[in-house]
């Protein structure tokens, strides 16, 4: 594609080029039935304050107890990020006052996170890939939610989210364009979804990103960054970066300087705005939570989790390339979602895998996108799609007829063999019938036949006419052969 898809994309300012440097802090809600330190349900939704334990409400004398499953999930994620797993980590208190923070502090991990450095390979739309470093992953509690729109005079607080386990995944400032940032987020989402450690549902807030953006002259030292808080879609991440980079360049080129600050992305206006300075003037007074012992586990614990890891996107992509002969690009598209990869593999079983890949990424994706349906709701089952590719392969239908068959399959959910049979779409391979149609076309178009001698490409027009006459059912190869037999002399063959 265009230059914008390339690594090291530069932004032109009036005084020259600028490079944008991006790092992401992604908050991913741990898939777990219970909260990080209490037995209350971590499910999304529910009537306000219906998923709240005494611990989550910060009642006097209540104590946190670590949910071992959440620890397992964090380790699983760390393994999926090819990261160092820290067998000893420490929970700290991050102290600040807010009505939706009942304890007056958030339990997080500050100096000793559960997961250390790792790396994510990010596939770019051009087929290229880049590595983005992971600095750390730590576990922390979510806060509750302040509801400002329920009453004209009061703010209400819903503590359902209070205490829900989050993984904060911090990247290195390794991204150089909004496309890379979006691709990184997409890859991260794919990995946690493969692992089953986060549902990646950005609409429900189970994944959200704080985006750190700075700009610099190419090759210069890092510029001062601004942090854009709580961006909750991939599109907004890209938009926020585009806006923020341009804003910083304008400030710098106007002779100003960037001061480190926290900003919010206004997705309606498409701009970032500074948060009120009061909210950023925190000294969180981190210190180890004395209610919790350091979190310790052994190699066996890690090994047990490692043994349950599924095949991850990178490995699956490599296998799709080697096993099915797919292009890296197609393989990358198919492994982006675990469900899509599974669909492809089910459909490709015993079939022409490349053809299946083309149908999945082509007609099927187009139809699903049009209807806003996930692959799990596809009216065309993997098995049916495989069957259809089989019908093409064995010559029962032509690729062209298959397009129509697919539309009917998608609309009715019927099996392709049945559709072909009932609607008489079987490909005509009877040379007599084809020959007759060819003769008819030649006879009724003498002018075109004359033209053909000068313009051999017109043979395609003849193919088209013959196909029309046979309602598309003629075997295209047979039509070609028949035409060549009768008109070949004009083509100098």
């Amino acid at each position: 594609m265009s230059e914008s898809k390339m690594r090291g994309k530069l932004i032109e300012g009036v005084t020259g080029s600028w490079e944008v440097v991006i790092g992401l802090e992604v908050h991913a809600q741990v898939l777990s039935n219970a909260k990080l330190f209490s037995g209350a349900s971590a499910a999304y939704g529910g009537a306000p304050n219906s998923h709240v334990s005494l611990v989550d409400a910060g009642m006097p004398g209540m104590l946190p107890v670590i949910n071992e499953y959440c620890v397992e999930q964090a380790v699983r994620t760390g393994l999926g990020l090819n990261a160092q797993i820290n067998k000893v980590s420490v929970f700290d208190r991050k102290n600040y006052f807010y009505p939706d923070l009942p304890q007056g502090y958030q339990i997080s991990q500050f100096k000793q996170p559960i997961v250390g450095e790792g790396v994510v390979v990010v596939d770019l739309p051009g087929g290229e890939s880049v590595e983005v470093g992971i600095e750390r992953l730590h576990l922390e509690q979510d806060a509750g939610k302040s509801l400002h729109d329920q009453d004209p005079n009061a703010t209400f607080v819903d503590l359902n989210r209070s205490g829900v386990a989050l993984m904060e995944i911090v990247s290195r400032p390794d991204m150089r364009s909004s496309e890379e940032a979006a691709a990184y987020l997409k890859k991260l989402r794919a990995i946690v979804r493969y692992l089953g450690t986060c549902d990646g549902n950005m609409d429900e807030g189970s994944m959200r990103a704080d985006v750190n953006v700075s700009v610099r002259r190419p090759g210069a030292a890092l510029g001062t960054r601004c942090e854009i808080k709580n961006v909750n879609s991939m599109r907004f991440v890209a938009q926020a970066i585009e806006y923020e980079a341009r804003r910083q360049i304008d400030v710098l080129e106007g002779g100003g300087s960037i001061h480190q600050e926290t900003r919010l992305f206004d997705n309606k206006a498409g701009v970032t705005r500074p948060m009120r300075s009061k909210e950023e003037a925190h000294d969180y007074r981190y210190f180890p939570d004395p209610d919790l012992l350091p979190l310790e586990f052994d190699d066996a614990f890690i090994a047990r989790i490692k043994a349950t890891l599924p095949e991850l996107p990178d490995a699956k992509k490599a296998r799709f390339v080697s096993e099915y002969g797919l292009s890296p690009y197609d393989a990358g598209v198919l492994v982006a979602e675990r469900e899509i990869a599974a669909y492809f593999e089910a459909a490709a079983k015993g079939r022409d895998a490349k053809a299946v890949a083309n149908w999945v990424t082509g007609d099927l994706f187009a139809a699903l996108n049009r209807d806003g349906k996930p692959i799990g709701e596809s009216p065309v089952s993997a098995d049916a799609l495989g069957e259809m590719v089989g019908l093409i392969g064995d010559g029962t239908i032509s690729g062209r007829i298959a397009k129509d068959v697919f539309v009917i399959m998608y609309e009715t959910g019927e099996r392709p063999a049945k559709i072909v049979e009932e609607r008489g779409l079987r490909q005509v391979t009877d040379t007599g019938a084809i020959s007759a149609a060819v003769d008819e076309v030649i006879a009724s178009n003498p002018a075109k036949v004359e033209e053909l001698a000068k313009k051999p490409k017109l043979i395609g027009w003849f193919v088209g006419e013959v196909m029309k006459k046979t309602q598309g059912k003629a075997n295209p190869q047979a039509v070609n052969e028949a035409l060549k037999a009768k008109l070949g002399h004009l083509l100098g063959e």
Partner: protein, 491 residues
């Protein structure tokens, strides 16, 4: 006064089992004494109706030949333990009127053992104090007086109400909590026994937190044996407290009779502190002699980092407190001073809800955790803590328990030290090291000051070796042969 209340807890237990009297009678006698003793201000809430109902249930169980280890025994509960449906204040205005919907693990275990609840006992606000004078509900008063002087004396703190109630024979025992000496110092100055168990021995679940890494619940009673009986029921692993330890609870009562023959008792030279009254040192020498006579070997040991303990404690404890008390913000429960501006609501609620000492400690704690100060204060204090624990570890290679004074002075007058926080903090000089190292410590009545006030000795043990403390404590108690009781000036 009914003679019933003069019994020890152990005697009351035997009497109940033998059906010589009923739990209902005990509860009624206790309630009557509590009502008469209101000048002591030991209770914040009295619960005679609850006590009567619990006692009736105990009597029914006893009649069936059933009942737990504390069946029918009237107890007082420090108002730091959350008690279901009963106001729990931590001695603070900010929690006035707060009725928990849950019961602390320790008190639940006591009720499960059949104990009878007489009410909630006064304490320093959020357990911050050594004299019970920081309570929003006014100071509890020591039943003891200096000779014929009728000046009111403090019962020590923070478990001052517990100490006063037990010393005045209002109930047979009480719960206390000890963060820097809050069981042992009040026990020492009111002539009762009190033990701070090893950190992790009793669950902290449902106890209003002061300094989480130091807080530990323990019993206060008139004899060492009574403490042993109570602790057995209070202790035990609780999965709801990540710092509680999964260890079997020994038969502490049996340990009371084990004696000290062959035990090595360490005497730490650094606990001879300048400016401490001679009578404290004399008492200490007396204690050494008693243990020696009973067959213990006395060894001098060194705890070289002792002098850093008090400063380290007054960094760690306020730091944790500043965070633990952040939840009292006017949003969810307790006091709220309304204001349209959120920050003002916080400020005004906390200004009105917390007393001066609590505010002072929140400020100290906030300061020592602040960016730029954390390493110099909090981190350094934690290092000191590690060194102090190391001191004890080394000492316990040479001995089985340590003997020290429990308090640097006898009870002092109400108001005498309130304007001098440093001199108030010095009350904990013998006790804080034990909390910093997480070890068990027991205070035992041992002598009388020149003014006729009780003085106590402290024994410090290895982690989870409370049994040695009960053995040696019983020996001291027996040797001291203490029979004096405070005059019942309040009745």
């Amino acid at each position: 006064m009914s003679d019933l209340m003069k019994m020890t807890l152990a005697e009351a237990r035997e009497g109940l089992r033998a059906r010589r009297f009923s739990s209902a009678e005990l509860a009624a006698a206790s309630a009557a004494e509590i009502a008469k003793a209101r000048p002591l201000n030991a209770f914040i809430v009295e619960t005679p109706e609850i006590a009567a109902a619990m006692a009736a249930a105990s009597d029914a169980r006893l009649a069936r030949g059933e009942g737990g280890a504390l069946e029918g025994i009237p107890l007082g509960i420090k108002d730091l333990f959350c008690t279901k449906g009963i106001q729990t204040t931590a001695g603070s205005h900010i929690l006035e009127g707060f009725k928990p919907v849950y019961e602390s693990t320790v008190t639940q275990k006591l009720w499960d053992a059949g104990a009878v609840m007489m009410g909630k006992l006064n304490l320093d606000e959020f357990a911050m104090g050594s004299s019970n004078e920081t309570s929003y509900f006014g100071p509890a008063v020591n039943p003891w007086r200096r000779g014929n002087d009728d000046a009111k004396l403090v019962p020590g703190g923070s478990s001052g109400g517990s100490a006063a109630a037990v010393a005045a024979e209002l109930c047979f025992g009480a719960t206390g909590t000890d963060t820097g000496g809050s069981i042992r110092q009040p026990a020492a100055v009111t002539c009762i026994a009190g033990i701070k168990p090893t950190y992790g021995r009793c669950s902290r679940w449902g106890i209003v937190a002061f300094a989480s890494s130091l807080d530990q619940a323990g019993p206060m009673a008139r004899t060492v044996k009574d403490c042993a009986i109570l602790l057995r029921e209070m202790a035990g692993f609780d999965p709801k407290d990540s710092t509680s330890v999964d260890l079997a609870v020994p038969d502490f009562e049996a340990a009371c009779n084990a004696g000290v023959k062959g035990l090595r008792i360490g005497v730490p030279k650094e606990y001879r502190i300048d400016g401490v009254p001679a009578e404290i040192d004399a008492l200490w020498e007396q204690g050494i002699a008693w243990l020696k006579e009973a067959g213990a070997e006395i060894v001098e040991v060194s705890l070289p980092h002792t002098k850093y303990a008090l400063p380290a404690y007054y960094i760690v404890a306020p730091a944790e407190a500043s965070s633990n008390l952040a939840r009292y913000d006017g949003v969810k429960y307790g006091l709220r001073v309304e204001n349209d501006d959120l920050t003002r609501m916080y400020e005004q609620t906390r200004a009105a809800g917390f007393g001066r000492e609590v505010q002072r400690r929140i400020l100290i704690g906030t300061y020592v955790l602040s960016a730029g100060y954390y390493d110099a204060y909090y981190l350094k204090a934690q290092k000191v803590r590690t060194l102090i624990a190391g001191d004890f570890k080394a000492a316990f290679e040479k001995c089985d328990a340590l003997l020290t004074p429990a308090s640097p002075s006898p009870a002092f007058g109400i108001g005498e030290k309130t304007n001098d926080p440093i001199s108030m903090y010095l009350n904990d000089v013998y006790t804080v090291t034990v909390n910093l190292a997480g070890l068990p410590g027991i205070a035992v009545p041992a002598g009388i000051s020149k003014d006729g006030l009780p003085l106590g000795l402290q024994l410090i043990g290895r982690a989870f070796d409370e049994e040695t403390l009960f053995s040696a404590g019983s020996v001291l108690e027996k040797a001291a042969g203490f029979t004096g009781k405070p005059g019942r000036w309040w009745a």
